[in-house]
């Protein structure tokens, strides 16, 4: 078996952007996303996600439909395709991702709030980052905006790995 494109650590926080890229086969990202998810499925690493993942995933799935309406030819996805991606995500989430109750954990909640105040990281994203920071694991993401905001704090930026750039 060939070496994975992006070897994952034994534990990591997986951002919604990675799961979305995998589920919706996003151009320029799907190979990396598949590499990560395949390793998670094979048990090479434990992938933590806060329960907020679902809210973000649903938002992204809806945008895929909206994109279909706005730019039918370039971005379009039919409802059955979106439903299909949703089902894949459901199975991935139940079988291989490890959901953690970030919102209910006071330390994560407070850290996310501080990240929002200090760096302007949006609330959902801040919970992913807080989870990585507090439990000393890397957050793997495609989200350049979060990385850019985090760059103001070396400790935070160090915890976030931009897939395709940092890893």
């Amino acid at each position: 078996m060939s070496a994975p494109l992006h070897p994952i650590p034994s534990e990591l926080v997986v951002d919604t952007s990675v799961v979305v890229a995998w589920a919706f086969k996003e151009q320029g990202r799907v190979a990396s996303a598949e590499s990560i998810i395949n390793q998670v499925q094979a048990g090479s690493g434990r992938a933590y996600v806060p329960e907020l993942l679902w809210a973000e995933f649903q938002q992204a799935a809806e945008r895929k439909l909206h994109a279909n309406w706005v730019a039918r030819d370039r971005l379009g996805l039919s409802q059955p395709h979106v439903e299909s991606a949703y089902q894949s995500m459901l199975q991935l989430s139940v079988g291989w991702l490890m959901m953690l109750p970030a919102l209910a954990e006071p330390a994560v909640r407070d850290e996310a709030w501080q990240l929002r105040l200090a760096l302007g990281i949006e609330s959902y994203d801040a919970h992913f980052v807080a989870l990585a920071l507090l439990y000393d694991v890397e957050l793997w993401t495609f989200d350049q905006r979060v990385c850019s905001l985090a760059s103001a704090d070396a400790r935070v930026r160090h915890s976030i790995k931009l897939v395709g750039v940092d890893v």
């Binding site: 996003e26 395709h81 199975q91 079988g95 954990e105």
Partner: protein, 106 residues
């Protein structure tokens, strides 16, 4: 590693066909979940996927309790079937452009 108590021991639980309690003295719920999960995986066990572990005071101090079990072969077989289904479904999925403002979306 602050797994402070396991009852019954995994082999005994397996023979009896019952789950086991794994107690962690971790400081918070998430850390306890991680530790119990790791402890289980190292022994070929699975953790019941509770999000909020029960907290109780025992002779080992304040602990968070996870429930674990040894998955039967059928559970592994089912997972393989489910993953095959995911892969099959993905074959018909067309590529899309990122919609989150990534470099590819312009």
């Amino acid at each position: 590693m602050p797994i402070v108590h396991v009852h019954p021991d995994p082999e005994q639980a397996h023979r009896m066909g019952v789950p086991l309690f794994v107690d962690s003295s971790a400081e918070d719920n998430i850390q306890a979940i991680r530790e119990i999960d790791r402890w289980c995986r190292e022994r070929g066990l699975a953790r019941a996927q509770e999000l909020h572990l029960r907290t109780l005071r025992t002779e080992h101090g304040l602990v968070r309790r996870g429930i674990c079990y040894r998955p039967p072969p059928a559970e592994y077989e089912q997972r393989e079937l489910e993953w095959a289904e995911v892969l099959r479904r993905r074959e018909s999925m067309p590529e899309t452009l990122p919609t989150d403002g990534g470099p590819e979306s312009g």
